[in-house]
Assembly symmetry: C2
Homo-oligomer: 335 residues x 2
């Protein structure tokens, strides 16, 4: 499996590291996704893993020369869709940083390209593979909370310093498709009930001169059968905090309430009086996203993620952002 | 100060107890608000406090005979407005269980009655007077979180067994005006920024045969200047839980994030690395709601609550419930 990487604006270095555990994964080439792009963190990951892919100055040349099996797309967010469609046209499998596109129209183009391709695309929905989320999902599948009726997700991030394109809506897509999308993906991961509609609010107040970048956002989703889901996101986590993010999920079911916070799972239900922190270490090994993606490229089934779910997170995030911009409730198109 | 009580469907017993600390508060009479009403808990409070108000079988007779200074209204929720308007017409001060009315039209009637009266009305927004909420508000007033940009409130209650009228929308008003209203009041208590609009969702799924009573609800409020506020409410807290409710408030400001949960205040901001639980015991004594209400009846100023805020909580709760029923974003009427 020959792998190329375009860009280093998101989580591509994580997959270089995860790739070391997969015997047939070979990183053969990489290039910038856009001219100014800082490739330092990716190159540091290559150095750490002692691998030596070729640095190309031109994406086309890289693709022609290397003819990779897999392309990791991690460029400016406005270019995710074009790189992905191009790779799919070449029948190259794509692992793409989320969001997969910045407009619902581009999502349709991507779906069309995927339908025609022998390859496929996954989004980097990395949170599915962390132990506490995995444990929570296993517990929910076992029915510990009964039927799920409400889900609340929180993403609270440090602002830090970000690449300049984050300040431009047309390049970054905004906070909901970048940050809140993780919460949106947790909704469908924890509760596989179709989305019906969304109403969103967002504000860029207090963004310390970061162009049109939002600092707060909230999305209220209706799911089928009256299930309610919310995602709150903010960039106001103080710089001094011990961790970059304060991620939380709270799931209210007919038989119990499960929470994920501080990287632990808490459950309260009849016979379990307290919110007990549960050990996320399971006997069974949790695969990495990259392991599962490579299995999928080899034609294996049964993973934590798939193309449809990757697309759903992006589409719902874009619908929520459009709702926040238009201040209207927006409904999912039924196919 | 002679006090009468009509009904025992909510928190009236609390004020009998709080009244013992006020030297000139005398409970002179009480009666049912409706025929089947169970008065046991109120009578137990009288017994505990060793006071002996007269039990009347007729509200009119009680009001004529006792001519109270104050009426505590705690009947079926659909009758709050009529009892309150009647008392205001008699220039009797009213402490009314929330919500003050079950429709926005009735709110207008109540406002009209209040304008014409020499007396006034407060709602039983009791959560303003608990130490952790008081402490949080003091900290926010001191500016520990900077400018407030987002507020999330949670109300999670045990279902328990409730009076039969809870099962009828036209008598109870629904879950948002009864439960979520506390979160709505916390929004205006913690962040005095006017409400602009609301979108709500609610569901009665899983209500164990309790008529049309909702079990889950979520409200997304826009406040002025792009401040975002949410309230999530549910009746799915397991019966075995240590406390009746799992109340939470999270306030995201430009300078820090403050949380209230498990009856504690947590704050993270520059220079304060961890979410430190803070001691809610202050040197200054926190008054009770009833003490402050009696001060207000005597014409004193400077309390934690007032009539306008009491009405705002009720009106915003009704607007949220109407939004959830109509599945439309509803806007606050500007006066």
């Amino acid at each position: 499996m020959n792998i190329c990487i375009v860009g280093n604006s998101g989580h591509s270095p994580q997959f270089v590291k995860e790739g070391q555990a997969v015997s047939d994964a070979v990183f053969v080439g990489y290039c910038q996704g856009y001219d100014e792009e800082d490739m330092t963190i990716l190159e540091a990951a290559f150095f750490e893993c002692q691998i030596h892919p070729i640095r190309y100055t031109d994406y086309e040349v890289m693709m022609e020369k290397e003819k990779p099996d897999i392309l990791i797309v991690d460029s400016m967010f406005c270019d995710h869709c074009a790189y992905t469609c191009d790779a799919l046209d070449r029948d190259v499998f794509v692992l793409c940083e989320k969001p997969l596109a910045l407009s619902l129209e581009d999502c349709r183009k991507l779906e069309e390209a995927e339908r025609k391709s022998k390859a496929t695309v996954w989004a980097m929905q990395t949170l599915r593979y962390v132990p506490w989320n995995y444990l929570a999902r296993q517990l929910l599948l076992q029915g510990v909370a009964g039927e799920i009726r409400m889900i609340q997700c929180q993403k609270s991030y440090k602002l830090g310093s970000r690449a300049r394109f984050f300040n431009h809506r047309e390049k970054s897509g905004g906070m909901i498709p970048w940050v809140a999308i993780h919460g949106i993906d947790m909704i469908q991961y924890m509760c596989p009930v179709p989305f019906v509609s969304v109403y969103g609010l967002q504000s860029n107040y207090g963004n310390s001169g970061n162009g049109d970048m939002e600092m707060t956002a909230s999305c209220l989703f209706e799911l089928e059968n009256g299930v309610i889901a919310t995602v709150n996101a903010d960039y106001f986590r103080p710089q001094c905090a011990a961790t970059h993010g304060d991620d939380r999920v709270r799931i209210v079911g007919t038989e119990g309430i499960l929470e994920i916070r501080e990287d632990k799972v808490f459950l309260i239900r009849e016979g379990q009086k307290e919110n007990l922190p549960m050990n996320a270490t399971k006997e069974e090994k949790i695969p990495t996203l990259f392991e599962e993606f490579l299995s999928r490229c080899r034609g294996e089934e049964g993973s934590f993620l798939n193309t449809e779910q990757s697309l759903t997170s992006t589409k719902m995030a874009l619908l929520a952002r459009d709702s926040a911009e238009r201040k209207k409730i927006l409904y999912v198109e039924r196919q």
